[in-house]
Symmetry: C2
Subunit: 262 residues, 2 copies
């Protein structure tokens, strides 16, 4: 994490280049203003990693992987028409049929009210209607409130998820614009840098916990790695100080215009 050779940063000679930790808790959160997602993690450094410890670490990671909920979703990049005040949202046909509750086609036109929950448990209500010539699925009433509320622009994406309980969830993913003013105006970047290092060093020296925020979309590199992947990497290619690395994220498949789970 050393950035400039500015040398205003104290060095932490007792802080190793890698710090093996137990993950005490992790909560997924998102910024109430921007919906940017991140994880809040409480970590405790482990000084001597015995074989037994390794197995505990690997087992706990396995447990984490177990409770993956089975969901289906679709993701669409918003067009100029989708974000304009002139109209609503045009839903890709296959996506609508797969994710939304089935319409009653005896109605003329077929229509229903949809409710979807976002990361802050806010419920958004949309009128879902199947009309036009040729016929297509549209979200009309309620859509513009969502667009303006989330300040979405053409190029940003929306995500509709149907979870295991058949509930609709709703997420957004902004296009890569300017790096959303993450350098806040309360702390110098030097102080931030020092704070993370000192917190980790202090926790390592005293066998205590420390808390970090892990923002996968904003961090320049991944500085937290699952132990299992780390093990695999160490026994495959040798890791050395300063080597750059990168992991594929499970969400990074959404490069195409419209994707869904098969």
């Amino acid at each position: 994490m050393r950035k400039d050779a500015d040398a205003q940063i104290p060095s932490y000679p007792n802080l190793p280049s890698k710090l093996i930790c137990i993950l005490h808790s992790v909560t997924m959160e998102s910024d109430p203003d921007t919906d940017e997602v991140y994880a809040r993690m409480t970590l405790q450094p482990v000084s001597n990693v015995t074989q037994c410890d390794k197995e505990i670490l690997l087992a706990s990671e396995l447990a984490l992987k177990q409770n993956k909920p089975q969901t289906e979703f679709f993701c669409k990049t918003l067009t100029a028409s989708d974000t304009s005040t002139h109209g609503g949202f045009s839903v890709p046909r296959r996506a609508a049929e797969r994710i939304f509750p089935r319409l009653d086609f005896s109605l003329q036109p077929p229509a229903q009210e949809l409710q979807a929950r976002d990361l802050h448990d806010t419920i958004w209500t949309f009128r879902h209607i199947f009309r036009g010539q040729p016929k297509r699925h549209l979200l009309t009433t309620g859509w513009s409130l969502f667009i303006s509320g989330k300040r979405l622009l053409a190029g940003d994406s929306v995500l509709f998820i149907r979870d295991a309980k058949q509930q609709l969830l709703l997420g957004i993913r902004r296009a890569n614009r300017q790096p959303t003013n993450l350098s806040s105006s309360v702390l110098s970047s030097d102080s931030m840098h020092i704070g993370v290092l000192a917190a980790a060093a202090h926790a390592a020296a005293n066998n205590s916990q420390f808390t970090i925020f892990y923002n996968p979309r904003a961090s320049p590199s991944e500085f937290v790695i699952p132990f299992a992947k780390y093990q695999k990497a160490v026994y495959g290619n040798q890791l050395s100080l300063g080597m750059r690395f990168r992991m594929m994220f499970e969400t990074e498949e959404s490069g195409t215009r419209s994707t869904w789970v098969q």
Copy 2:
């Protein structure tokens, strides 16, 4: 600055309870999103304060006080009508006559275009008109853009300043609502706390500079004090570790509905 007795925070035994510093630079800035104001200060700890040093410190503070520009201003708390989309801004009569350029009363009705600059050097343009029965000063066209752009609500205040060059400046001051999510989502408060302390301790040990952000309206207490005031306090009442203190700010006179410099 010690908060909870949580004891996850390392102690800095070499960091004294007060740190006398030279102020190398101070820039007044404001958050591009909220207009919240703060100062960015580069400080360098002084280890042994000799009489000569004290005089330098006091002299530099005197120099800072010299260049106070002579300005006039008025401040008005916004009413429901001021912030509604139904109309414009009703300007208190004496304030308008004192601050705004004089209207040409041969026009029917008397009106002009006003331009005012905010902290980000954005120019806001308003139509200033004197009309109605009874006659009053109003800002009409352009006002609603300002209100929505700054997201102002009834109860917030606006500030019009006429500077030494007869230019109009424009500021806002939000009502005391929730403490504007200053705890960002990138760093734990422990890390922030540690970061400031460690940066100060490192600078004190190495005779180097450190940078802090000083937000007078958000900080729970004033942690930067002009040396002259500190001296006066020390020779008057004795300061001791843990004693609480508070200074009056020059801007804190705006308790009344509408104020101006006499």
